[in-house]
């Protein structure tokens, strides 16, 4: 068994040595150096922080949606909300607001 394994290994070694090869070209080296260049640091928000933000957004969405039947329109409270909390918050809340406006509870 060992002799067979050694013979197979020798067969592969000879076949691989017979493969044609040449040094990498300058353009290939440049490609490789560019491809392996470290990418700039990118901040990834921790999962806990993302979850907390989502929970707060849902609470804010529910609170604002409850105000819709009181006569407020989306335009009236979107602008001050955006200026206070920033655009990202509005983007979280917006789908909830749209849904609330689409089916307002008239007997509130």
């Amino acid at each position: 068994m060992k002799q067979l394994d050694q013979a197979i290994q020798a067969a592969f070694a000879q076949a691989i040595a017979a493969e044609r090869s040449s040094p990498p070209s300058a353009s290939l080296l440049a490609r490789a150096a560019a491809a392996s260049q470290p990418t700039p640091y990118r901040y990834l928000q921790p999962a806990g922080e993302r979850l907390a933000n989502l929970a707060l957004s849902l609470v804010a969405c529910a609170a604002l949606a409850a105000l819709v039947p009181c006569g407020l329109t989306v335009r009236e409270y979107r602008t001050p909300l955006a200026s206070r909390l920033g655009h990202n918050w509005v983007s979280y809340i917006q789908p909830g607001l749209e849904a609330a406006v689409a089916s307002p509870s008239t007997d509130f």
Binding site: A10, A11, F12, Q14, A15, I16, A33, S36
Partner: protein
């Protein structure tokens, strides 16, 4: 064959300047280019004149992805795993490009690749006769078995590492290695009987 320092290569590629990274790539090229060109023969769908390009692309992809290499693992197992994905893509791409031509039956494609494998073999001395007979027997293996045989007998990877590189269960690799040994042994016996 597991004497390549992948951890050092990874360190050089990730922390070095442009010249250092180029030197690191040259080192990777010197260590693995021929081995990958030969490994590509395990995909008969890749034409002979495109194997060198496929090996080059595999080396570039591996070098760019060195950050994902775990230095506690065998470097060659990781590298051949990257190469396997590139060669599968190349084989698929070539197959799609040639869709208008009637495809070769699998057996003929395998036979063509096997002959090419044997034709490239250099002139042998009498001392290497057994290795030459093994080469003829290896040429008769299927593409998958040739990939497994190279990783086992030349790269000296174990069944788990081969499974990781080729996307196969370790038990399947062990079973195929035993079958490959039997097949080559049978071929050698046939050659001796006819000689």
């Amino acid at each position: 064959m597991q004497n390549f320092d992948g951890a050092e290569l990874r360190h050089l590629a990730l922390t070095g300047d442009t010249v250092t990274r180029q030197q690191a790539f040259s080192k990777l090229w010197d260590g693995f280019y021929r081995r990958l060109v030969h490994f590509a023969r395990g995909w008969p769908a890749i034409p002979n004149d495109e194997r060198a390009d496929a090996a080059t692309e595999a080396l570039l992809a591996a070098f760019a992805a060195l950050a994902s290499y775990d230095p506690t693992q065998a470097f060659s197992a990781w590298l051949f795993g990257v190469a396997r994905h590139k060669f599968q893509d190349a084989a698929r791409h070539h197959h799609q490009r040639q869709w208008r031509q009637p495809p070769l039956p699998d057996d003929e494609a395998e036979k063509g690749a096997a002959l090419a494998w044997h034709d490239d073999f250099p002139e042998r001395s009498a001392a290497a006769e057994l290795a030459g007979q093994c080469a003829r027997a290896i040429a008769g293996l299927s593409g998958r078995d040739r990939r497994i045989a190279q990783l086992r007998f030349h790269e000296e990877l174990n069944a788990s590492q081969i499974g990781q590189a080729l996307g196969l269960p370790a038990a399947t690799v062990r079973w195929r290695i035993a079958a490959i040994r039997r097949q080559i042994q049978t071929q050698l016996e046939l050659l001796h009987e006819t000689a």
